[in-house]
């Protein structure tokens, strides 16, 4: 199966697990995604290899960036009627607090879904959703190849 077919099947089954398992990098990071109370929540499961600053310790900025970007892509695939693999055009992360050595959650909202371009905002938090560790906004190309 192509990755698009894997995503179609996962979406039809209402289970994102198959989609996550198909992508090596999401397995490497330890990402999980599930729908909770109608919202798609992406989780970065804490593991020692995600640490960027061992002294604090704090998560590597790249892992938070990858969580936010993945959450945005999952949201676009989840919400769109036809599966198109979104291509990131620009991605901007604001790092608000250091990410502690624990699970991190992210939720994305599509601010505009166009025919060619989608604009997405994403927030990531740990213990308190009102205290995000990082936020991002991203622009994706969502045209079929």
């Amino acid at each position: 199966m192509t990755i698009r077919e894997v995503f179609e099947a996962a979406k039809a089954a209402g289970d994102l697990r198959g989609m996550l398992d198909a992508v090596p990098y999401t397995r490497f990071l330890g990402l999980d995604a599930e729908v909770q109370a109608g919202e798609l929540i992406t989780t970065l499961r804490y593991a020692p290899h995600l640490i960027g600053n061992p002294a604090l310790p704090a998560l590597h900025g790249g892992t938070l960036g990858a969580l936010l970007e993945s959450a945005a892509i999952f949201e676009l695939i989840w919400r769109s009627e036809t599966i198109v693999l979104p291509k990131t055009i620009t991605f901007t992360v604001d790092y608000l607090r250091s990410g502690a050595a624990r699970d991190t959650y992210a939720h994305a909202s599509i601010t505009r879904q166009g025919r060619r371009v989608a604009n997405v905002r994403v927030e990531a938090w740990q213990t308190d959703r009102a205290m995000p560790v990082a936020t991002a906004h991203a622009i994706f190309l969502v045209m079929r190849d």
Binding site: P24, Y25, H49, G62, L85, T90, T92, L96
Partner: protein, 143 residues
Amino acid sequence: MSDNKPRPGRGIELVPHNHALGIQTVEIERGMAVLKLPYDQKLVGNPDTGTLHGGAITALLDATSGTAVFSALTQWAPIATLDLRIDYLRAAEAGRDVLCRARCYKLTRNVAFTRAVAYHDSEDDPIASSAGTFMLHTKTGAK
């Protein structure tokens, strides 16, 4: 300093996530750093094409930009990324290592400003470019 041999012992590889990604130091000068992300199957974002996931490129740009800031400081100080804006210009090619060159082009008392480019062979054919800001002299991670 201009040869392309990885130079161990600079501490980049001691950061757990950089080590997990396989990031290596290629070159460091005052205010400038080149790091390498070797191609690895585990970092693939699209299994159909074998291209690396954007997240791995993000981590490389962040790590290289931070290294450029450290190299610009006259005295070591803890730093934290404030923001990072990335333009994805084209897909990284399957099976090929990605290099990243970052420059800390402005250093103020509190903030460092960086630009970075990720590429295979030449910065003139970039995969991604970024602009970042870093807070200097952060304490215990609180910003």
